[in-house]
Symmetry: C2
Subunit: 346 residues, 2 copies
Amino acid sequence: MNHSETEIAQLGEFGLIDRLTRDIKFHNASTIKGVGDDAAVMSYHDSEVLISSDMLVEGVHFDLTYMPLKHLGYKAAVVNFSDIYAMNGKPRQITVSLAVSSRFTVEHLEELYSGIRLACEIYGVDLVGGDTTGSKSGLVISITCVGDASKDSIVYRDGARPTDLICVSGDLGAAYMGLQLLEREKVASAGRQDFVPDFAGKEYIVERQLKPEARRDIIDELAKNGIKPTSMMDVSDGLSSELLHICKQSHTGCRVYEDRIPIDYQTAVMAEELNMNLVTAAMNGGEDYELLFTVPLSDHDRIEKLPGIKIIGYITEPDLGCALITRDGESEIPLTAQGWNHFDKK
Amino acid sequence: MNHSETEIAQLGEFGLIDRLTRDIKFHNASTIKGVGDDAAVMSYHDSEVLISSDMLVEGVHFDLTYMPLKHLGYKAAVVNFSDIYAMNGKPRQITVSLAVSSRFTVEHLEELYSGIRLACEIYGVDLVGGDTTGSKSGLVISITCVGDASKDSIVYRDGARPTDLICVSGDLGAAYMGLQLLEREKVASAGRQDFVPDFAGKEYIVERQLKPEARRDIIDELAKNGIKPTSMMDVSDGLSSELLHICKQSHTGCRVYEDRIPIDYQTAVMAEELNMNLVTAAMNGGEDYELLFTVPLSDHDRIEKLPGIKIIGYITEPDLGCALITRDGESEIPLTAQGWNHFDKK
């Protein structure tokens, strides 16, 4: 700790909360009362209420060696917004609970909060409450996001039907390859004070890992074009895992084409450099926070015109199972959920 | 781990969530969709929505040496319900986020969840979502509770007015003295396999610490008698601290009478045994989860008839400050917030 930094104990819990949440301005008419009482108050008389919670744990989900606290705050907020967009809703409020060990100063938490507040500013979300407490080791961030949607516009995971087109926004695997790059540079820097990490030409995949965005633009674009997906979720655990969720809940199978999976050039170069399988990275990498959704076949022409959305396959009857059709079109590889397993004893 | 127990890694995150949340029945018409999608869906067209989050961290808020996991789950849920009652609302839904290290088995988490589910059953609350992830050390529980109240019935902290009566439910200091007893027995048991802790005649204070209840009955009783408090909060950090919050937000002062503070016999005996100041325990102990509220003077006769509620003082003009009037009636001790400071480096 530098001399200019402030120990959290100096402020105490209430002083700290005051400092972190002062001057918060609200963006939403649904926010009635924010931080400062036993509970926040919201008003949702004309729409349904959506709620989603995510927890990020130091050493499991993030490494402060290369993750700046401001980016971490931004990411922690955005991944929660992404869950609300994945219901075809709009995020409106968040509560932020933090457990922090004594190695963190007030200034550290201000950095973290500046990222959370920036995300709230950009996405029009109100920070309305939470809890800040001590921890015996490391940092834990638990965010709950409240959003809204009209009853008719909510999209669940269980509405996919055979012949529906499977669509995905953006590109996949970049966040995962960004993580591999950051881990490589971390190992290379070990014990070297003068080390400068080399991210030249790889800025995109690093940003995808450190500062992901939620696809509000896609939700807006679909609405503008009168397209309501039959099922939707966000790609947080990896495309394979998410496709299996949609198909299991919709009681269907699916086929996706390897050569239709959208992959950025930098992702491909990084996989090549690290001698890793590119398709595996794109199918199982996770943390892309793109939207995966299905639309009726009749929407084909309208969806094809939309930039940033790719049709990657179609929904089938359940007995056909879930499979990837290889580039040569000759073989089918069954999809498996290789999503993160934080409980593995490595 | 016994041979009959199951490692979490065997089930994976999705298998674990399925196992912990299966067969959940909903109690509330406002719950539309629970666990299993990107977000839960709720409907609140006729009331305002309340939201509150609390985080409990192993080694900071609880010690598994003497806190059974089922009790911990129960307490973690109930303290969140208490925040919603403190707004004069009804808790309806919770999301539960857990970070667990590999020393916990599936059976451990089932124990924890059995307590959460029991609390939900008793208080009529629906478990609708959450997140379960790994942790590098220990257990972190983050619960967010959603509740509702009509716009006119919500009670904030800022509505207390001079001459209002200050009331508190139940008794104070018991949870704190229960903690002291549990800590004493923990020390006494150190290294002794055959140790049997001695809680005879102290069952009440132990239960107040390990299995607190939220005062739904008081909220119902007030409503039945047509009494709407002018301000209210729950006593989680200690009476002194909460009174200061109400007076600060209401721009008032207050006087409370030492001899009116409700204290149970067991609490007094325990303080005597441990040679601790009883009034300090009652004023600053915390974790009582009783309701502290103010009512207009005109409600005096009605409030006095209600069992389990005690009038302990009155609200003053702000320039008089906040003070405790001692038993002899001769001196005034300024109130100070000695609430928990988890950030202290002990």
